[in-house]
Assembly symmetry: C2
């Protein structure tokens, strides 16, 4: 029989929003277990851009993503959260008699919780992949959906597909690094910041970027994962072959909830649909906060995720203790453990 | 003719929420004017408790209220807000033809703005004053609605009225300082944190606090603003006279919007009613954020005020530029001026 442990609130995702939820829940007397498929806390802040400065965390004129996570960890630790890292949640079950959710992880761990908060963040979103034959053979070899090291494209012939900010910004950056940059877009108008478009047009005039519009991707030519050409076609089906070492398709993100998509909550293309006043999903007792939560006018800002975390744990308190009048307590009244 | 100056957004209240709104508005390209009746920025954080540590600002395990304001000011300053301090807004007018709001201050200054954000905070709330004859003669002399320096009550006979957290907490604190502490409450049951009530009951057992329940305040005896006795009565009208140097009535807060209450927005007893998705009041183009804003499940937390500030300025952007597609920009993409 596998080991089951119990907690008040199971939080799926140990990024900034999930970490702050631990603190807020702790202030209300709840114990939390944080589960993340990454081996470390911090989500994308730690995994993708720990050194990147962030300017819109309130009262931090500038803070790196790594430092932000450190501070949030310090703030959460007095409440002794349990961390279940490097494991993803595979199944979930609600027992009507015990009123407990049981989550099972990829390592077979079972966690029983009174409430569940999904804070899966940007990790729940993946790139939109163009529907090209055999593209998976080229992915991560010569087709990339994000740029980690721009200098790795030095002296390469780069084809960028897309018309939004990512396409335009990376075209502008790579124009100085790559052997050639060609931007393929199915419309002649770009949907990006006007000043970025202006910059691109200057680089086009200078011969540093080629535009290929209105064209769309048709097929890939190459072998063993290495592209030699990208074939594009216009609206009449006329084809052009572009010599290419690298293809960067930037067609936006699409939600990829992984095993969570089996859960019976309402989802939209923008995320898990929640009540904006409680952050509760369509599954009673299950909440979603941060970038993965979707409601009208939702802003994907970390600072809004913090507020959503507070709203969710207060709603959980009202749900678990419906007959208990809540005496609103400011942190200044009693402080936190150890303060 | 008086001087009128124009701004994008007039923000009433220069506390933490108003200051953060300046930053968020600046990120979207808006200039702000901050108006506050206090002579300094920071609202109650600066005026009432600059040294008090706050534990629930995200990513600050502890920060004093004064330091919080300093950091928020640093974050806002690159966007060059105009400060109109020591002046309250007396009148407001909306001109349908220019689509501008004009606010006039107590000093006769006129400010024309495209949108108004009310961030009047706790400053918009005053104490509930008990309906006792001549109480105003005693206020700030021997009747106080808040405690600034507990040690000023050393060797005084203190009567505390009320049954909530403030009454119980201050009774517990003053039990060690005052000559005597008597708590008058019209019910025998207190509505405060259970552990605070337990503590009070221990102090009652130890003879350090006297309870007078179920009694309510009846009248005040004294002269020249100095109390000598507080008269209380039970439900049958039987009176008891309590010797008292000081009366502390803690009957909660009541909204006192001052001149703002002339404005035609919907208000409830909890504050200015807003749409929780935009923070817009019932006056188009006028928003309320922070403690003064009221919507279902509202949490009066500074961190929620920050999120509300972001939501309000994004809603203002959508309102002022309805045909402009918004390319969502993270602070990491471009940074802020001077970074």
């Amino acid at each position: 029989m596998s080991h089951t442990f119990t907690t008040d609130i199971a939080i799926i995702g140990a990024g900034p929003t999930g970490l702050f939820a631990v603190f807020q829940a702790g202030m209300l007397g709840f114990k939390c277990t944080l589960i993340d498929s990454l081996p470390e806390i911090g989500g994308q802040c730690t995994a993708l851009y720990p050194q990147k400065p962030i300017y819109d965390i309130p009262a931090y004129p500038s803070i790196t993503a790594g430092e932000l996570i450190e501070k949030l960890e310090q703030q959460a630790m007095p409440f002794n959260p349990q961390f279940v890292l490097g494991q993803s949640v595979t199944t979930y079950h609600f027992d009507e008699s015990t009123k407990l959710f049981t989550l099972e992880t990829s390592e077979g761990l079972k966690i029983a919780a009174k409430a569940v908060v999904v804070a899966a963040g940007g990790g729940a979103f993946g790139p939109n992949r163009p529907p090209l034959k055999n593209i998976e053979q080229y992915e991560e070899k010569s087709v990339f959906y994000s740029v980690r090291k721009p200098e790795s494209f030095a002296n390469k012939h780069v084809v960028i597909a897309g018309g939004g900010d990512s396409a335009v910004d990376w075209a502008n950056i790579l124009a100085d690094i790559a052997a050639s940059v060609t931007v393929v877009h199915r419309r002649s108008k770009f949907r990006a910041h006007q000043d970025s478009i202006n910059k691109m047009m200057h680089l086009v005039d200078d011969g540093k970027i080629s535009l290929c519009t209105p064209y769309q991707l048709h097929s890939l030519v190459g072998e063993n994962g290495q592209l030699s050409d990208v074939v594009v076609s216009d609206l009449d089906g006329n084809k052009v072959e572009l010599a290419a070492d690298v293809l960067l398709p930037f067609f936006g993100l699409r939600m990829d909830l992984g095993p969570l998509k089996q859960w019976p909550f309402d989802i939209s293309e923008k995320g898990i649909v929640v009540d904006p006043l409680t952050m509760e999903t369509s599954i009673k007792g299950t909440y979603a906060i941060g970038d993965v939560a979707s409601y009208p006018n939702k802003l994907k800002l970390i600072l809004c995720g913090f507020s959503e975390a507070a709203m969710a744990v207060h709603a959980i308190r009202a749900q678990l203790h419906p007959n208990h009048t809540f005496h609103f307590e400011h942190s200044t009244t009693k402080g936190v453990p150890g303060s």
